[in-house]
């Protein structure tokens, strides 16, 4: 019997523990391509979350009806339907944003995060858990893209979300809004994330060893004392 994870955990795990960008390293293409500015990152992440949420929900609802042999084909059709809906709605309601994100909205169809969560989670769990999992992963993706977009926008064009932060005397680094800037920023962010994880692990290990040693020493001391007593 599988151990039941608390419902809240299904949501929060997406924020950091299995963060799509930093832990699963999925969806790198849109992550690198659209994060020239914070607003583009947010829009991309929201569109992805929308698709992720509804496709996870639907796939989870009909998971027992889909024959195993054609499950991937079915998932792709379902995902593509939601992506096309998002694309059409954005073109109709937010033409500027749709133009800025260009071909990356239709490309959500092949975003590994969505198919990954469908295959790894929604096809095996009930709708409530799948919805929470989708929202968590979407939120994790949103945080990553927002931070990445903000850093690139701040150094590349002095602003965050269009508000000027750095003074005019600061010469914007062109490289940050070029593709190379995306690789540099993402690489550094992943490096620091790994450094943090490593540090945390080391601390845990040390405290465990310390605990063990304390217990160990006491036992040894007892024995030594006993022996000494005998």
């Amino acid at each position: 019997m599988k151990k039941q994870v608390p419902l809240l955990k299904e949501f929060t795990k997406g924020l950091w523990e299995i963060n799509p960008t930093f832990k699963q390293i999925l969806g790198m293409c849109p992550t690198l391509a659209v994060t020239v500015s914070a607003i583009n990152g947010i829009a991309m992440a929201l569109a992805t979350t929308f698709v992720l949420f509804f496709s996870s929900l639907l796939i989870s609802l009909i998971r027992k009806l889909i024959p195993n042999q054609v499950r991937i084909a079915s998932y792709i059709v379902i995902i593509a339907t939601f992506v096309t809906i998002v694309d059409l709605v954005m073109k109709a309601q937010f033409p500027e944003l749709s133009k800025a994100l260009g071909p990356f909205i239709p490309l959500i169809v092949v975003n590994c995060i969505i198919l990954g969560r469908a295959e790894a989670f929604a096809s095996k769990n009930n709708p409530v858990r799948s919805m929470l999992d989708a929202l968590g992963n979407g939120a994790g993706f949103l945080i990553s893209l927002f931070v990445l977009g903000s850093i690139r926008e701040l150094i590349g064009s002095r602003t965050i979300l269009g508000f000027q932060i750095l003074p005019n005397g600061f010469e914007p680094w062109l490289i940050m809004i070029l593709p190379a800037g995306a690789f540099l920023t993402l690489g550094l962010m992943m490096g620091f994330a790994n450094l943090y994880i490593e540090k945390k692990k080391n601390l845990e290990r040390e405290s465990l060893i310390a605990q063990y040693q304390r217990v160990g020493r006491e036992e040894i001391t007892d024995e030594v004392l006993k022996e000494a007593g005998v």
């Binding site: 054609v70 593509a80 339907t81 059409l88 709605v89 070029l178």
Partner: protein, 187 residues
């Protein structure tokens, strides 16, 4: 798992997906068309500031609009023309007077030039050089020196290819429009 079950599952998913998409499309497509129309109109009047009305001319392969002011007097033409830039297509709206011998102004509609260098073609120091330019016999690009003749445009330092592309596209569009006009007159 039976084959019939597989076929049935895929068919049902396909039908539902197609049906819902057609519903969304019915709602969205008039709005999308409206957005595109508004964008073209905005661009047409950008190069003819006094323009209030316009009509599209049917000329083979060219997107040309005749622009009128409030009282219906013809102001000239707005020509949409595109060509290759440094990295991708550049699409330009060119405003022309009635005789096709003066450019009112130009507006870059689409481009994918290098940010910070090639994208300077969007900025007034370069773009405004086209205001009142006389493209006779054609526009010439000069480098390093200030333009002396009324058909000269100065290149952007560090973005020569982008500057040259804009000149080439405008010249090409003008040449095509003129040849069509002449043919039309001969008929």
């Amino acid at each position: 798992m039976k084959v019939s079950h597989i076929i049935a599952a895929l068919t049902i998913i396909g039908i539902i997906a197609g049906g819902s998409l057609s519903l969304v499309n019915n709602w969205a497509s008039p709005k999308i068309a409206l957005n595109q129309k508004a964008e073209t109109e905005r661009a047409i009047f950008l190069v003819h500031n006094d323009g209030k009305k316009y009509e599209q001319l049917n000329i083979n392969g060219l997107e040309v609009y005749k622009v009128f002011d409030e009282s219906g007097n013809s102001l000239g033409y707005s020509l949409v023309h595109s060509g290759n830039g440094f990295q991708g297509k550049i699409k330009i709206m060119i405003g022309l007077n009635e005789e096709l011998n003066k450019i009112t102004s130009i507006e870059i509609l689409e481009q994918s030039e290098t940010p910070g260098l090639g994208t300077k073609i969007l900025e007034p120091p370069y773009k405004d050089q086209y205001k009142g330019l006389t493209p006779v016999p054609s526009i010439k690009l000069v480098k390093g020196i200030s333009p002396e003749n009324p058909n000269e445009v100065q290149a952007i330092t560090g973005a020569t290819i982008s500057s040259r592309s804009v000149v080439a596209i405008v010249n090409d569009g003008l040449a095509k429009l003129k040849s069509v006009e002449i043919k039309g007159a001969q008929k």
